[in-house]
């Protein structure tokens, strides 16, 4: 297909976006194989910063962790000088994946296939039998090892989060995020953190459906009935939406203790407020106000596929990796702070019942993505999602929570990158 693509590229785009602009998202972008292939090129290999891992996951020289940018396998490792490098997890010889274990420690990266060996910077240090044997065979005299290292990508450590990009144009992470977004990252990564564990959730839908979901304050308190029913998060609570890079990124936040219009729920007829339901043992909801801004739920999206989550005392980074056109994997890294006292540790642990694939307030995001993917199957050429909640423009909406502005921002960025 790429052959065909190559031709198309110089020609018109694969898609004409609806005239309504970012308030619409054509369903075709969720099941067109051609568009998917272009995304790998224009978004993931384009001018974007992609979350890879945490620096504390590779504290020592030789430590590495594997990740993905789109479909491309990546190694993030720390060299002898403590410097962090990003490398494509693909041997320069014939393409074998170098690191199979998702984490580990290596003095060097030796490929199992023919033992080409790379140092922790990704430079080729040895080619097995380069000189052949008994002067026979081996690599040509003019073979230049310096030209055959691993493909290096640009990485940056921002507040302990390692981001990577294939682009040398894109500005640095701080500029990429912009002041409001960096503020929130700094808020969460204010002190030394500690990984509490991981979730890996296979989503039965195109990766973008989850990206929309995590930018959508509108669904949170409706789909996730647990939120509203137990008054953990409601649109009626104070909060709003902050944007970064004219909408590429965003932050959704709310303050549980400030419910400005309870009636809207109590009065209303949302299935998501289930009246006669109670909890037999709510100790798993025991929580502590650990941020002085009083924000209880804060979901941040960093374009394209990174989310930083604070739901009460559960803290996590979510990284979405496409697994083909109609499947994606959501990698959760849950953490706390090094200085957590025992009570707080226990709180985070039990509150984890709220999140992840079995989370009281998150499991639905697994099913709803599939509902959409199946709902739009065979959709007409011009069928599209509509996002006009909170207006049609893309601007920060401090006091507003009943809004889809963050989704419009997502699609705006998508169009810029894809040329649609």
């Amino acid at each position: 297909m790429d052959g065909f693509l190559a031709i198309m590229r110089n020609d018109e785009p694969l898609l004409t976006w609806p005239k309504e602009g970012p308030t619409r998202a054509p369903y075709r972008v969720m099941h067109d194989p051609e568009i998917y292939r272009q995304e790998m090129d224009r978004i993931f290999r384009g001018p974007t910063w992609n979350y890879l891992c945490l620096d504390i996951e590779i504290p020592n020289p030789g430590d590495y962790k594997t990740s993905f940018i789109g479909e491309v396998p990546i190694i993030v490792c720390r060299d002898e000088n403590g410097e962090i490098h990003g490398l494509i997890n693909r041997c320069a010889h014939k393409g074998a994946m170098l690191c199979i274990d998702p984490v580990g420690n290596k003095k060097q990266f030796a490929c199992v296939y023919h033992a080409w060996t790379y140092d922790l910077k990704g430079d080729l240090t040895s080619v097995a039998f380069q000189k052949g044997l008994a002067g026979k065979g081996g690599m040509p005299a003019d073979f230049d090892a310096t030209k055959h290292g691993l493909t290096k990508i640009r990485v940056e450590n921002f507040c302990g989060l390692i981001f990577g990009t294939f682009s040398d144009q894109v500005e640095n992470v701080e500029a990429y995020l912009g002041p409001d977004m960096t503020k929130q990252v700094r808020r969460v990564f204010c002190k030394r953190i500690e990984v509490l564990g991981y979730y890996h959730q296979v989503l039965p839908n195109n990766w973008k459906l989850y990206m929309e979901n995590s930018r959508d304050p509108y669904h949170a308190t409706i789909l996730h009935a647990f939120y509203a029913t137990f008054k953990l998060n409601r649109l009626s609570m104070q909060g709003g939406v902050a944007l970064g890079k004219h909408g590429w990124h965003n932050l959704l936040y709310s303050v549980a203790e400030r419910d400005i219009q309870r009636d809207n729920y109590e009065g209303g007829h949302l299935r998501s407020v289930i009246r006669d339901v109670g909890l037999a043992d709510s100790t798993f909801l025991d929580r502590r106000q650990e941020f002085d801004d009083g924000v209880t739920v804060a979901i941040q999206s960093i374009y394209p596929t990174c989310n930083i989550q604070q739901i009460y005392n559960t803290l996590a980074i979510r990284h979405t990796v496409p697994l083909g056109l109609e499947k994606a994997e959501l990698h959760w890294t849950c953490f706390g702070y090094k200085d957590d006292d025992e009570e707080l540790r226990r709180m985070r642990n039990l509150q984890a019942n709220l999140i992840g694939p079995a989370g009281y307030v998150s499991m639905e995001d697994g099913s709803v993505g599939g509902y959409v993917q199946r709902g739009i199957a065979g959709a007409e050429e011009d069928a599209a999602a509509i996002m006009e909640m909170g207006g049609r423009d893309i601007a920060p909406q401090p006091g507003i929570r009943a809004t889809e502005v963050a989704l419009r921002g997502f699609w705006q960025a998508y169009r810029e990158l894809m040329g649609f």
Partner: protein, 158 residues
């Protein structure tokens, strides 16, 4: 392996059978009663378990929390209708004291959706601490999932 009496063996198997029937026959309300109160029920991936990471997929420290999971399943959460078929094998019972045993056993769960789609949804080991008596009860059941992945969501306990 230390030996345990026939009687204990039967108690344990009866307990596990009730456990399966409660879940697979969709009588989940019977499920909490198979645990002591307080108790410890935990679903955890081998990935986290092997590295002693505290994070669980599901964790209940009391019968109440088990009951709340049933409530979530029946009343609150949104998911596609589905059923489980449990399969067990390789049960080992080791005595702790006169009234407690430790059990290890393989499990696998076939999940069937309303569409008819079937998958091996989970497989791994049950690590149990069981209190014996007129009827045995789980003081602790740790469900270790060999897979680090969960497909779509997990709403029915394993």
């Amino acid at each position: 392996m230390a030996i345990v009496s026939e009687a204990v063996h039967h108690q344990i198997e009866a307990l596990n059978t009730r456990y399966i029937r409660a879940i697979d026959d969709d009588k989940l309300e019977d499920w909490p009663a198979l645990f002591t109160d307080p108790c410890f029920y935990r679903i955890v991936s081998r990935e986290n378990f092997a590295r002693n990471l505290p994070l669980s997929v599901m964790e209940c420290a009391s019968r109440g929390m088990l009951i709340d999971r049933v409530t979530g399943y029946r009343r609150v959460n949104v998911y596609e209708p589905q059923r489980y078929t449990h399969l067990l094998s390789g049960l080992v019972i080791e005595p702790i004291d006169a009234s407690h045993v430790r059990c290890t056993q393989n499990y696998a769960v076939v999940r069937t959706m309303v569409t008819g789609e079937m998958t091996v949804f989970a497989a791994g080991v049950y690590l149990d601490r069981v209190r014996l008596g007129d009827e045995a009860l789980f003081e602790e059941r740790i469900v270790v999932q060999e897979s680090r992945r969960v497909d779509t969501l997990l709403v029915i306990p394993l």
